[in-house]
């Protein structure tokens, strides 16, 4: 025989999207983000130390190479969240609308968090480079300083890129879940538009890091278009999720 207790209060004090956001941030993202940096930063430090022992002058930032990880790792997690968490969320009585809000909020918060940590690490690294007489240049080998356009501009560019990457990941996940393997694959270029728009247009040549070492120099219109594409993609994500059917478990 088990104990029977009184039912708890029936009212909900926390909106569903905030409950989901709390779970996603605490259970998934903080943990994964902190693990990523806890691994990446010591690895970069060790590699730079070894390189420093073998060359006279280093001309590229080591930390800047971690931007790939900070971009593609959350991108992958965003895909997984759409595919695996969405059905659990809805099947446990929460609306699709609350999932959309929580997922997009996670994209923004994690993007900002990663961009801030990366920029902070770059600032520390710059001081070390200056102290040992190295050149704190970007990863493209051009010798242009990482913070050529200013620290805040660099931070903004990274944040936009990391957020766009996660929006692309969210779109890919939900496109495969809703549309299936074939159409999901066909839709990949569309899903990658936010990432491509920020990476290729973004803040302009020499102002931000980008994953393809080339950025169109169309400022400020490139930036405007990139931001609009990310916002439109978030809207597309909402439209794909809003009446999605949750798979049966048969």
């Amino acid at each position: 025989m088990t104990a029977v207790t009184d039912a708890p209060a029936t009212g909900r004090s926390t909106p569903q999207w905030r409950s989901a956001l709390h779970y996603l941030l605490s259970g998934y993202v903080y943990m994964l983000t902190l693990w990523f940096w806890a691994i990446a930063l010591p690895v970069v430090a060790i590699i730079m130390f070894i390189i420093g022992q073998n060359v006279d002058e280093v001309t590229s930032s080591g930390i800047a190479f971690t931007h790939h990880g900070a971009l593609w790792f959350p991108f992958s997690i965003a895909i997984i969240l759409s595919v695996t968490y969405l059905p659990i969320h809805v099947a446990n009585g929460m609306t699709r609308r609350s999932f959309t809000r929580a997922a997009l909020a996670v994209n923004v918060i994690v993007g900002l968090l990663n961009a801030t940590i990366a920029t902070g690490a770059l600032l520390v690294e710059r001081e070390i480079y200056h102290a040992v007489g190295w050149v704190h240049g970007g990863t493209d080998g051009s010798g242009i300083a990482v913070f050529n356009g200013g620290v805040l501009v660099y931070l903004l560019g990274l944040a936009m890129l990391f957020i766009a990457g996660q929006v692309s990941g969210s779109l890919i996940g939900v496109a495969y879940y809703r549309l299936g393997g074939i159409i999901g694959t066909v839709a990949l270029p569309l899903c990658l538009l936010p990432l491509a728009a920020v990476g290729l247009l973004g803040l302009g040549q020499g102002e931000q890091w980008n994953p393809w070492s080339w950025t169109a120099d169309l400022a400020p219109w490139g930036t405007v278009v990139a931001v609009l594409v990310v916002i439109a993609s978030a809207g597309a994500f909402h439209l794909l999720v809003r009446d999605i059917a949750i798979d049966s478990k048969d």
Partner: protein
């Protein structure tokens, strides 16, 4: 606590070119235990999925008078347990309880933990590390402890062994008595759950076959038990839907409006007359092969 009233009007659900439900008109009263029966592919899971807002259909669906789809106030109080539940597979059971506490406004964690002790589930384990029976038990616990005004169990006890199933049935009845709500039970183990059901709804090939009070169904036929030759004599001319033999004793289930005089005569001849078992009735009503042979 009050359970939710359910209503569907001309509900049709299709998966591509396949129609899973056709024109379902159904009313289920609140604060009762309803049985939802049907053979594999009859549309039971689809119907419950629509009620739980997992998918949309054509037609009208009302839960407590409201469209449940994307209705936060309704959805959070509708709990469908599909097999072992929809859980965070890579999180511990205790983390899953915390997640459910946030998701379900009436979730009773203390009750859930006491049930976990009863079913001997380790809170530190992850769902993917549970045996099938343990996973089913945890799904049942989630459904019970959610205390949702509409709680639906879809074959939740499939993996449980007989003692665990009995414990589950006991808990359903016990908790229902303490906290009345609308419960829908779907199962192929009809004889095990028949005593719990207040109403019975049978789906067959996507259509509503019947939705009646369980008591009315039990008197829609009779069982005659006794010496085989005496039973056969009294069953002649009746619609026999089931026969069981044990040595010289035979039990037949007859279906239809039975003549009171004929039943009284059977009792005078030493036969035991009983209510029709739900399972026999279900088999009779959904036996497509027999119906085709008869036609």
């Amino acid at each position: 606590m009050t359970g939710y009233r359910l209503h569907t009007d001309n509900l049709t659900v299709s998966y591509g070119k396949t129609t899973a439900l056709t024109g379902i008109n159904l009313d289920l009263a609140p604060d009762r235990i309803h049985g939802l029966l049907g053979r594999n592919g009859a549309g039971k899971t689809t119907l419950m999925s629509v009620l739980a807002s997992l998918r949309r259909g054509q037609g009208t669906v009302r839960v407590e008078g409201q469209d449940p789809f994307e209705n936060e106030a309704i959805m959070q109080n509708v709990c469908l347990i599909r097999e072992s539940g929809d859980l965070l597979l890579d999180e511990k059971l205790t983390t899953n309880l915390s997640f459910l506490e946030d998701a379900r406004p009436r979730f009773d964690r203390t009750y859930a933990e006491s049930l976990m002790a009863t079913f001997r589930l380790d809170p530190a384990k992850k769902p993917q590390a549970l045996s099938r029976g343990q996973a089913s038990a945890f799904g049942a616990i989630v459904g019970l402890a959610s205390r949702a005004p509409l709680t639906m169990f879809d074959e939740v006890h499939l993996g449980m062994d007989a003692p665990a199933r009995q414990r589950f049935y006991h808990e359903v009845l016990h908790d229902f008595a303490e906290h009345p709500r609308t419960i829908v039970l779907s199962s192929h183990l009809i004889s095990e759950i028949a005593h719990m059901l207040e109403t019975v709804t049978i789906l067959h090939e996507g259509r509503l076959l019947l939705s009646n009070e369980a008591d009315d169904l039990h008197v829609s036929g009779a069982t005659l038990t006794g010496a085989a030759e005496v039973v056969d004599r009294h069953a002649t001319g009746q619609q026999v839907v089931g026969t069981q033999d044990l040595g010289p004793t035979r039990q037949v289930t007859v279906f239809g409006d039975l003549d009171e005089a004929a039943l009284a005569a059977a009792e005078r001849d030493g036969l035991t007359v009983g209510a029709v078992p739900l399972q026999d009735l279900f088999i009779h009503l959904t036996d497509t092969d027999r119906a085709e042979e008869a036609s």
